[in-house]
């Protein structure tokens, strides 16, 4: 019954040279590519569909199906763009993956590009991770040297160029159409959909945008089979993924497990909430997913179950906050983030987040009124579903969910005329662990 961990992508991260192509090949790397190059591209797409792999970048769209949307037979080039912008607060899986094992991503890129008939692929990596950039540069160089990239890959007649592109600090560039604008050399602002990138993406050509972890999972499917992948996970959420535990937990870190594992199981593996404290609230998939509380410890962490419980699986970014944390402080800081990162294109998000930050600041200092809670909910109503992209929608998640679960705590703030919590008690050095 109990779920166990299933290290696949992380299986060799404890070897000092894990980021080199030598280590990668030593452990069976590039076998998947060799197999792929003997297959028809359509069959690879079918295999990825059969595996049940769903996007690991947050939305969970079936990867094979996305690839299948590319119009075939046109004269425009196809592109693969890997989303390595990882900036959703709490999300911290792609960066350690690319630091420790960039070759799994490169192999996935070659297989995926071959499957969608692209001859040029891009990695859009956030700029604020210098050493990851170095590792990717080296990995790409090694792959070219070995003939896994470039002209006539492994004698197959297939050609692929791979360009690494560094962002410059903007959360919104993780949104796939803003990313494409940014990659084209513009301000990163989302585009109207449709047309979707599959039809008109980079340079208005058919384009697949996929998350790092999605693409890095592809070689294992080629090597081990679609049935192997779909044998893990739950009915509609197949396979494995990283669960990233952070915050007030004894052993924060990356836990690679089948989808459907619960937070109770993960906390058990991670030594529990930090000593002497209790779980207060947590995010299942980053700051844009409604918070959960201790009553959700047994919700299977798959797309359907988390959705049914009122949140979203998102990026499996499990930020754990214990009883020392003021929920209003946490929410205010997230809203300040959305206010800062709003691209300004649409009014509900640009103005709404600005207003919400002001109200939350008053509330945190105990200067609010109960009417302002309703005003917050009203603003959320005007942002959710009325924003141009999912950044605006996501910003409402922490606000509405915190009022749902912690209305009393908001009220306590203005009843007392101040915050009842001591921020010093939440810090790492306050105890629990060093």
């Amino acid at each position: 019954m109990t779920t166990t961990l299933t290290p696949v992508l992380s299986a060799h991260w404890d070897e000092a040279d894990s980021y080199t192509i030598g280590a990668y090949e030593r452990h069976g790397g590039y076998k998947g590519l060799r197999k792929a190059l003997t297959m028809a591209p359509e069959d690879i797409v079918a295999m990825v569909k059969d595996s049940g792999l769903r996007g690991r970048g947050g939305a969970g769209f079936p990867t094979g199906m996305k690839w299948g949307f590319l119009p075939q037979g046109g004269d425009k080039p196809h592109y693969l763009v890997v989303n390595a912008d990882e900036s959703e607060p709490g999300t911290c899986k792609d960066i350690p993956l690319m630091l420790a094992n960039p070759q799994s991503l490169i192999e996935g890129i070659v297989i995926s590009s071959f499957a969608i008939k692209a001859n040029h692929a891009f990695i859009y990596v956030r700029g604020e991770v210098l050493h990851v950039v170095r590792r990717l540069q080296q990995a790409i160089g090694e792959a070219y040297d070995k003939g896994f990239l470039g002209a006539d890959i492994l004698g197959s007649g297939y050609n692929l160029e791979l360009t690494l592109h560094c962002g410059a600090g903007a959360y919104i560039c993780g949104e796939e159409t803003a990313l494409l604008d940014s990659l084209e050399g513009y301000r990163g602002q989302p585009r109207l959909k449709p047309p979707f990138p599959a039809v008109a993406g980079l340079y208005a050509c058919p384009t697949v945008v996929n998350n790092v972890e999605s693409i890095a999972s592809v070689p294992s499917i080629l090597t081990n089979g679609a049935g192997w992948f779909s044998g893990m996970g739950t009915e509609k959420s197949k396979g494995f993924g990283f669960f990233s535990l952070s915050g007030h937990v004894t052993k924060p870190g990356q836990y690679e497990a089948p989808l459907g594992i619960t937070l109770r199981e993960l906390l058990d593996m991670a030594g529990g909430v930090r000593a002497g404290h209790e779980l207060k609230f947590w995010t299942p998939g980053g700051s844009s997913t409604p918070i959960f509380t201790a009553e959700h410890l047994d919700v299977p962490l798959d797309f359907e179950s988390v959705g049914a419980a009122g949140s979203m699986l998102g990026t499996r970014a499990l930020q754990i906050f214990d009883d020392t944390t003021c929920v209003i402080r946490a929410v205010l800081r997230w809203i300040e983030f959305y206010e800062h990162e709003s691209c300004g294109k649409c009014t509900p998000c640009r103005e709404g987040n600005f207003w919400m930050a002001q109200i939350l600041e008053r509330l945190e200092h105990g200067n609010g009124t109960e009417a302002e809670l309703d005003k917050l909910l009203d603003i959320c109503d005007n942002i959710l579903g009325r924003s141009f992209c999912a950044l605006g929608d996501g910003a409402t998640s922490p606000v509405t969910s915190s009022i749902q679960y912690f209305r009393d705590e908001y009220i306590e703030h203005f009843r007392r005329g101040g915050c009842p919590f001591d921020p010093a008690a939440s810090t790492v050095w306050a105890g629990g662990k060093a």
């Binding site: 290290p7 604020e128 962002g167 410059a168 997230w334 010093a424």
Partner: protein, 227 residues
Amino acid sequence: MAFTEDVRARLEVDAKEIIARYPKARSALLPLLHLVQAEQGYVTQDGIGFCADMLNITAAEVTAVVTFYTMYKQEPAGEYHVGVCTNTLCAVMGGDQIFAELSEHLGIGNHETTEDGRVSIERVECNAACDFAPVVMVNWEFFDNQSPETVKRLVDDLRVGNDVKPTRGADRVCTWREASRVLAGFPDGRAGEGVQAAGPTLEGLNLARARGWTAPAAGESNEENDQ
């Protein structure tokens, strides 16, 4: 600070190499801005003019892009730019206190630089290292699991010129300009330095090893993991 002819000629060679990476030249704008930032430490009017020339677009078009992205500095950054993560998770775990004490220690505020030009500080958003909270970045290298004391010592070392080693990164922190050049796509040969992974990154793998847990073997349908 207009570019001398020598500098301009050298930059043009780099710029052409960058532009050649893309099917369309305009895509080169972000790396070109990292390149001019590497030359001057921040994006100047001359840098903007250079990018505009290289891409055949207007200075206004370049400026619109510069102002959109937080990594492009419009005033000189310190030789060592220190970013303290104060997004919620890190803030709660101690990032707020770290920033407050650091700011007081250096006598400068957010986006300011010490008088000697050595250190600038900034509150940064989540840097994808939450499992190492509280996190501090120096020239975009990771300094994990920080405290007010470690960060104050860190900037003191940077100011007197002692070598400083990131927790997950190169053996020694490079300068702001050197870092910007790598981001423009010119490797500095240091990818092999530093650890492959550390602490929290390996927590799950270590536990799996200790308990003998593995992913199912190929061809094996694993009922157990199916719950």
